[in-house]
Symmetry: D2
Subunit: 343 residues, 4 copies
C-alpha cells in the first residue's frame, strides 16, 4: 500500500483527491493537514466522505509527513516550495497541484506569481506531469509539477498540430470556458451563487497565469516562436472545462488526415478520447471522470479543436493520481475507472 | 419628487431598491451611503445600473441624510436603530428593511438577535409594513419595520384561515424554500456557486429568527395560542420563495367556500394573486415583480396553501417601496408595474 | 459473471444502470434493448459511456433476453408486466424499476396507473425491493418491484417511528423535493432548462402515484390506520431528493432516545447514514452515490426527519443493483462504492 | 395608441413581446394568434402575465389582423412570408422576428433555410432592423426583418473596426455563447434541464444560419471580402449572450484611439454601452433589459471585443419594439427603460 499524505485538504482539489484515493485499491490515506482545521474529522467538512474517510485534519506542525511515500500539495502557490525540499530529502515523493514547479524559468515564475521562488534549485528536477506528453519522465520522477487545468486542454489539443508542423504557431487562439469550481473554495463575492449563476463572463483577458505555462510547454513541440491568445471565461456550472482552439493550417491536409493524426497520437492514451470528426463534445460527458475528450472541425484553412474535461479530475486531482500511479509502477489508470456522471 | 436616501446600498436589497427607484416617476435618488465604498460610483459595483444611476456611494459621515424625505435602511440588523432617532427627529421618514423594529417585544428581539436594542422607545411607534394587512397604519407611519421575506408569505397565507377561525392555530406548519439571494451579498463559503448549486438542504431547523416575528403577527389575528413549525430550505436559484403551508381545519367548509374566503380577502390587493383552487404557483411567475401568488389545496381536513413571491421584491425592497408610496400619499403600486421575467 | 440485460436503456434510470454496471466486477452486460434505437451504439447516445460500454441497442424482437441471468426493466409502467412472465418462466430473474409490481392490490394499481394489469398472478410473488426493510425476502426473490424514489425516503424516515409506535400514524406529512431528472428523459416543455431552471414549484399536490405505494408499505409497520399528506416539489437541480418528514409524537421520549432508535435500526445498513441529531443533510452529499442520509430534529412533540438521497441511485438504479447483489448471493454493496461527487 | 397584433405568441420571443408591450404606454395589445391554443387565455400559459394581459389566443383564421397598426411575427421561419403580403397590402406594418426577410439574396435564404421563399419580391423592400446601424431606413419602413441574436452582437462589435478599415476582414473569428432560451420553447430532449444544466458545449460548428446573415451585413461596411469563423456554444443559463470577437489589426493604432473610435460610434446609441477599455462585461448586467454592453481588449495586433446582451431583448423582442417605436415616430426607447435584473 502506498502511504499518502495530503497537504491542504480543505479545498476542491483536496476533497477531489480524497474522493479518488478513498477507493484506490493500492492507497492508504495516512495524513491530511490543515492548520486551520486541526482536529476536525474530514467528513465533518465534507459529508460526502462520511463512512469513507475516517481521518481528521492535523496541523502541519504535528503531522509527520515523512512517514508517507508520497505527499500531494493541494495548496495555494508557495506552500509546496517551502516544504518540498525536506520531504524530498527524506525520500518522500512530492506532487504539487499548484504552480510552484510548473515554470522552469524562475524569473517568469516570480513575474506572474508575485512571490520569490524559495527553491529554484528544484526547478530543473521537477517533472511536468502531463502524462500523455511526458509519460517516461514521470515514471522516474521524485517531484511532479501537476499541470494547470486550462494548460492541459490547450496542450493536448494543439500538440499534434504543432508537432507535425501543420499550423502557424505564431497565431494560436484558445477561447476557454471553465466551471466555477476552478476558482477554488474561497469565500469571495464574485463566485457566490447569486453572482455567478445565470451569468457568463470573460475574466483575466489582459493576462492569465496559465498563458506562460502553456506557451513554455508548447514551445517544446515546435521550432517556430509560439504566440498564444488565451481568453478564459466563467460558466455557471460547478465542474467542467471546454476549450475552443483555433489554429491556421500552413499546409494542405485533408480532414481525414487530420483526424488520423490525432487518433494515432492518442491511440495508447486511455484518458484521451478522440471523437469522430465534427463531433461536439460536452463537458458533462467527463463529469467526475478522468477522461479528456476532443473533436476536430475545419473551416477552410482553420482547424478548430474542441476539448472538454472535468477541471477537477483530468484538470487537477485525477491527473495527479495518474502521475502517482506511474511513479509507483502501477497501471496509470488504477483507481481512475469512474464513469462520468450523466445526467 | 420624493428625495430618497439609502443606507447600505451594497447588498441585494440595496441594489434592488435602486433598480426599482431608478424608474419610479416620483422619486429622486439623493444619497446612497457605504462606509467601505465611499466615492465609488454605484454603477461600478452594479453594472446593471450603468447609465441609470449616476450617484456614487458616500460615507455615512459625509452624507447629510436629513435633506431626504425618506431614508431606507438596507443594512444588517442594528444599523437602523442607531440612526433612526436622529432622522425621525429631523422629520425624515424611515423604512428599515432589517429586523430592528419588527418585534414589539424588546426582550424577544434581544434574545433572537443577540444585540441590545438601543431605542426601545421607538418600538411602539414603528408600524409593521405588511401592506395588505396593515394599510391604514402604514399611511400615517413615520417609521416602518419592513417585514421579513418568509414572514410575508406565511402571514398572507395563514391570515384568512386564522381570522375566520377555521383552523387549529396551535398546529401550523410552514415548509418554506428560498433562493440563495436571501442569504445576502456576503463572502461566505456556504453560498458559493460550487457549494449551493445543484444542491438542496434545510437550514436553521432548530430555530430561525423569522419564527418569533411571524408568530407575534399571527397572534394578532386569533385568540387561540399560535404554534408554528417553520422549516426553511435553500433552493439553487437566485430569487424566489415558495412556502408550503399546512393547517388543520377545525370546522366543516367546502373547497368553494375556502376559495371564496381568500378571493374576498385579497380582492382589493393589487399585489396578491389568488390563483384558481388546485393551482401550482411557480416562483418564476413573480421573478422581478412585486406580485405574491397563492393557491389552495385540500386533503381531508388539511388545507395546504402554496405561496410564491420574489424574496427581493415583495419579500423586501418592493414591499418597502409599496410602503413608501402609501406614506407619501401615492398609489401604492406606483413604480411597481414590472411584469415578471419569464423565462 | 452475471449476464445482465436491460430493457429500455435510453432513459435516465437506464443510463444510470449502465454507469454502475460498467464497473461492477461480477457483471457482464449482455443486451440492451430499445425498439427505437435498434443498432445505435449505446455510447453514441450517452458519450459518458464511450470506451466503457461497447454494446449497441438492439430491438426487443431480436434480443434473446432469455440468455441473461437477470433483466432490469428501466421502462415506463406497463412494459415489465408484458415481458416478465416469459422471462421468469425461462428462469431469468427480473427487476422492474417501474411500478408494475409495487402495489399488491390490483385495483389500486389500475386506479392510479390507468392501465389494466396483465399479470396479476405475479403480484403476490413479487418482492418489494427496499433492501433495508426487506433484505431476507429479496435474497430469495425471482421478481423484484424496485421502490419509487420518494417512497424510499418516506419509508426509511418514518419506519423506526411507526415500528416503535411512537407517532400518530394518521397525521403524517411528507414535504418532498426532487431534482428534475426524476421526470425522466422525455421531450416535454415543462422540464426544459428555460422552464425549470431558476424556478421552484409544487406539483401533483392533489394526488401522486407514490402516495398509495408508500401508504401500503407503511401500513405494514403499524396497526394504526396510516394517513399521509405527500407534497412533491421540483428543484432546479439534476439529481437529488430531499424529504422533510413531520410526525407527531404520541408518547414521551427524549431526543437521545430518538437518535438511539434510528442508529440501532440502521446500524447494519451500509447505505443508510444516520447523521448526528440536528444535522442538515445536503443532497449533494449523496450525488452519484448509493447513500441515503437522514437526520432528526424536534420541536415539542413534533419530530422532523430530514432525508436525502440521489434519486437515480438509492432512489432507483443503485437500489436495483443492491437487490441484484442480494439475489445472486453477493455482498449487497458490490460495485456500489462510489463516493458522492462533491463539489 | 398603436394597435398591436402578435402572430405566434406561445414561444419565448412572443411572451417577451407581451412582457414589454404590456407596460408600453402607447400600445394597445389587440390580438395574439395561435392555431393550437385558440381560446386559451394568454395568462393561463404564462402566469407571469396574470392580471397584466387579459387577451386570449385566437386562431389565425378568426383573428382580423388587418385591424392592427403593426403585426409582429414571433413564429418559426416561413410563417411571416406567407402572411406579410396581405397585411402590407392592407396598410399594416410588419415586423418579422424570424429570418424570412433577413437575407436579400433569395438563393442564399433557400440554401440555408431549406424552404422556398414565397414572396421574394418583398426582400428588397424589407429593412434590416439593426437600429444602431440602420436607424433612418427603419423610420420609413413598412416591413422589418428583425436581426438574429448572434448577428446583433457580431455586427455591433465588428462594425467600427471594419468601417474604419482597421482590421483584416478576411480573418474574423466570433466565439459566441448563448443561454438556452435561444433554442426556443420546443419540447426537445437536448434542451431539457437534465441535459443542458451543469454542461457546456459547442453546436453547429460546421455551419450556422447566422453566418450568412452576419457576413452579408458586415460586407456592407467594407470593400474587403469578409470571412467569418463563427462558433456558437450553449451556456447553462436561461437568458444572455456573450460574444468574444477576434480581429487582427492591419494598421497601427493605440488602445486609446480604439476606445475613442467605439465611443464616438455609439455616443448617441441609448442601448449600446461602451464600457471602459479592459472591462469584462457580464451577461447578467443586461438580463431583462434592452442594453447591449461591449468592451475592448488588446494583445499585440489582436483586438478582442467582448459583447453581451439579453438574447430575448436586444437580441430579439426588445430590438423589435425599438424598431416599432421608430416606425411610429416615437422615441426609440419608449417602453424599454427596464433596468437589468441583478442579482
Amino acid at each position: 500500500m502506498i502511504k499518502v499524505g495530503i497537504v491542504g485538504g480543505t479545498g476542491y482539489t483536496g476533497v477531489e483527491l480524497l474522493r479518488l484515493l478513498a477507493v484506490h485499491p493500492d492507497v492508504q490515506l495516512t495524513a491530511i493537514t490543515s492548520r486551520k482545521e486541526d482536529g476536525l474529522p474530514v467528513a465533518d467538512m465534507f459529508p460526502s466522505l462520511r463512512g469513507r474517510v475516517n481521518l481528521a485534519f492535523s496541523s502541519p506542525d504535528k503531522a509527520d509527513l515523512t512517514q508517507c511515500d508520497v505527499v500531494f500539495f493541494a495548496t495555494p502557490h508557495g506552500v509546496a516550495m517551502a516544504q518540498a525540499p525536506a520531504l524530498l530529502a527524506a525520500g518522500v515523493k512530492v506532487i504539487d497541484l499548484a504552480a510552484d514547479f510548473r515554470l522552469k524559468d524562475q524569473a517568469t515564475f516570480e513575474q506572474w506569481y508575485k512571490i520569490p521562488h524559495t527553491c529554484p534549485e528544484l526547478l530543473e528536477q521537477a517533472v511536468y506531469g502531463l502524462v500523455e506528453l511526458n509519460r517516461d519522465a514521470i515514471k522516474g520522477a521524485k517531484l511532479i509539477a501537476n499541470p494547470g487545468c486550462y494548460p492541459t486542454t490547450m496542450q493536448l489539443g494543439f500538440y499534434p498540430l504543432l508537432k507535425a508542423g501543420l499550423v502557424d504557431a505564431g497565431g494560436l487562439i484558445a477561447d476557454c470556458k471553465s466551471g466555477v469550481s476552478g476558482a477554488g473554495r474561497k469565500a469571495e463575492i464574485a463566485t457566490l451563487f447569486s453572482e455567478s449563476s445565470d451569468n457568463f463572463k470573460a475574466y483575466g483577458v489582459a493576462g492569465h497565469r496559465h498563458t506562460p505555462e502553456t506557451v513554455a510547454q508548447l514551445q517544446n513541440f515546435t521550432d517556430q516562436p509560439v504566440n498564444l491568445i488565451f481568453t478564459p471565461h466563467l460558466v455557471p456550472m460547478i465542474r467542467g472545462m471546454h476549450s475552443t482552439l483555433y489554429a491556421r493550417l500552413t499546409r494542405d491536409i485533408s480532414n481525414e488526415e487530420l483526424q488520423a493524426l490525432f487518433e494515432a497520437q492518442y491511440a495508447d492514451a486511455a484518458f484521451v478520447d478522440v471523437m469522430p470528426f465534427g463531433s461536439h463534445p460536452e463537458t458533462r460527458s467527463t463529469r467526475g471522470s478522468n477522461m479528456l475528450r476532443l473533436a476536430l472541425h475545419r473551416h477552410g484553412n482553420m482547424v478548430i479543436v474542441l476539448v472538454v474535461q472535468d477541471n477537477l479530475v483530468k484538470g487537477a486531482s485525477g491527473q495527479a493520481v495518474q502521475c502517482m500511479n506511474l511513479m509507483f509502477g502501477l497501471d496509470e489508470g488504477k483507481g481512475l475507472n469512474q464513469v462520468a456522471l450523466l445526467p
